[in-house]
């Protein structure tokens, strides 16, 4: 076993299948580990996952600590968090990454609390750099970059005295590497030492619901902001999305105001998307939102305010009334 401070990824599995975000994080971990000259490790918790674990190697993981126990088949906060804590204590990683999923956001804070270490939520970028506190310089520390304060600023957070440094990252933020089917992962079985009386949550039912919208897979997204939030404008955005075989997205305030469901929300705290075309209707373009869509191949911005920040990242800018412009677009497309 290496005594270097490796980079460790928490592998999340749902219904026996490894979550995409975990594979994405392995790519980010590989970049960080490369800069530090350390290895990429993972911790996988569950039941009967062994066959699934080989894929971790394809995505850059060198070693996975696998805790297999029937009692761990369903997620439960206390046993999962304690198992991660035990694994961290046994193998001393320098950095631990979690997906910012409901599971990652449940486990990671408990682990950080138990180890009294730093944890930064929803990072949009991770780098290695140095940090100075008084006259002490910490080299090779994790720079955790995230929009903060409703997306009005970008903060770089460090936890140089904390071992490990921990961060959560949303699904879709990091890019998966091209898998290498020849790369093997070393699977190390570890016993589950959690007592029965730590299994405090009983999962009575698991209900899968098809999402009404699937923004992640959409190639075209028509997105509504507060400038397009009246029923008529939403309907026009929906019509254009349907005509283009795309999906309807929106900005956070539209969700917070209860106009559209959270499944439609694009942005740092919503869904990160990379469609071929993103049409931002009445969206001012706060960093919070841009963090989730700036990598779209083409962006059309429609806004009545010519100074809206969204225009700075748009390939095509249309200044005008959203409803008016959308109507013209729908008509134009029908004719085309």
């Amino acid at each position: 076993m290496s005594n270097k401070k490796n980079v460790m990824v928490f592998i999340e599995s749902r219904a026996g299948k490894i979550a995409e975000v975990s594979l994405e994080l392995l790519g980010a971990a590989r970049d960080l580990a490369g800069k530090l000259g350390v290895q990429v490790e993972a911790v996988a918790i569950g039941h009967d996952l062994k066959n699934e674990l080989t894929v971790l190697g394809h995505y850059g993981c060198q070693r996975v600590y696998y805790i297999n126990d029937e009692r761990l088949a369903f997620f439960s906060s206390v046993p999962y968090a304690k198992t991660v804590v035990n694994t961290i204590k046994a193998h001393n990683p320098g950095i631990v990454l979690f997906g910012a999923t409901t599971m990652g956001r449940d486990v990671a804070p408990r682990v950080a609390s138990a180890l009294k270490c730093g944890l930064t939520a929803d990072c949009t970028d991770l780098k290695i750099g140095e940090h100075q506190i008084k006259d002490k310089t910490y080299k090779n520390t994790l720079l955790q970059i995230r929009p903060a304060f409703g997306g009005n600023i970008i903060a770089t957070i460090v936890s140089p005295e904390s071992v490990p440094s921990m961060a959560t990252v949303r699904e879709g933020v990091m890019k998966m590497i091209t898998p290498n089917p020849d790369a093997a992962v070393e699977i190390i079985n570890e016993a589950c030492t959690i007592a029965d009386n730590d299994f405090l949550t009983e999962v009575l039912e698991v209900i899968n619901e098809e999402k009404a919208v699937n923004l992640k897979a959409a190639q075209i997204i028509v997105s509504a902001g507060m400038g397009a939030s009246d029923p008529e404008a939403i309907e026009l955005a929906r019509t254009l999305a349907a005509a283009l075989c795309g999906e309807l997205g929106c900005s956070r305030p539209v969700v917070d105001s209860g106009i559209l469901d959270k499944d439609h929300q694009v942005g740092q705290t919503g869904i990160t998307v990379r469609p071929n075309l993103y049409i931002a209707c009445g969206i001012s373009g706060q960093i919070q939102h841009r963090a989730g869509m700036s990598e779209a191949k083409r962006i059309i911005a429609i806004n009545k305010d010519p100074n809206a920040p969204i225009f700075a990242i748009a390939h095509y800018g249309i200044v005008g009334d959203v409803k008016d412009v959308l109507t013209k677009m729908i008509n134009a497309y029908k004719k085309a």
Partner: protein, 289 residues
Amino acid sequence: MGLRMIVTVKQVPDTHNVTGEAMKEDGTVNRAALPTIFNPEDLNALEEALKIKERTGGHVTCISMGPPNAVEVLKECLYRGADDAVLISDRRFAGADTLATSYALKCAIEQAGEYDLILCGRQAIDGDTAQVGPQIAEKLDINQLTCISAVTEIDEESITAKRSVEDGYEIVKSGFPVLLTVTASANEPRSANAKKVMTYKNIGKEICNSSYDESYMAAETCAVISHVKEWNVEAISADPVQCGLSGSPTKVKKIQSVVLTGCESRQIANSETEITNLMNELVSENIIG
């Protein structure tokens, strides 16, 4: 009897209504220029506690950590039906990250006495971390149910709730004590009760205002508290080193105001001709089909 409930609440800057003045020239946040509000999902946590109290009976204590004027959110709790309110406030709590915040809240919860159920909003809109709830649960060594969108059953022994996850939901059950983090879809928070506003609008002074008209409040079943408790580091027996900046492993290295990376941008006039041309162009480039 009923359940003993704690609700943690936070006063937050209204990050949705940020104006130009909210940012200082050096790119830092000018908190003074921002209005403050009751963190939205904390209102959902409070509402869930009040609903449980109506169903099974019980006692609801609201706790907030913040500057002295955070007493305003605690008054909002009392207006809606909370039984007791505690503000933990001390300069030594300042600069706390989620770890130091959860430590202080854990100490305050222990100081407040026995509890069965702790309810927190899933996350606060200023940081969006969703970390403090689970960190409190870990420090108290109790179970947690996060992302709860409905409480389906509750009695004196256990709670059953609907937990929203990525591809659907789970129905989960736990005994007490347990900590819940509640999402916005759990309920529609009630508004303030006019009688309670009358009762509590001047609260905050240590001394009870004897001019209260007792008969006016007689319709209420629970006792009326005379003041919001304000506790400092010593009052909650906290270790000052674990509070505030010194108890926070995460540090802000750099704050940047947002620089827009410009791209080659074309202005399209809002005319039928130009929009038609744009759509045709996108079709010919196979961007749209």
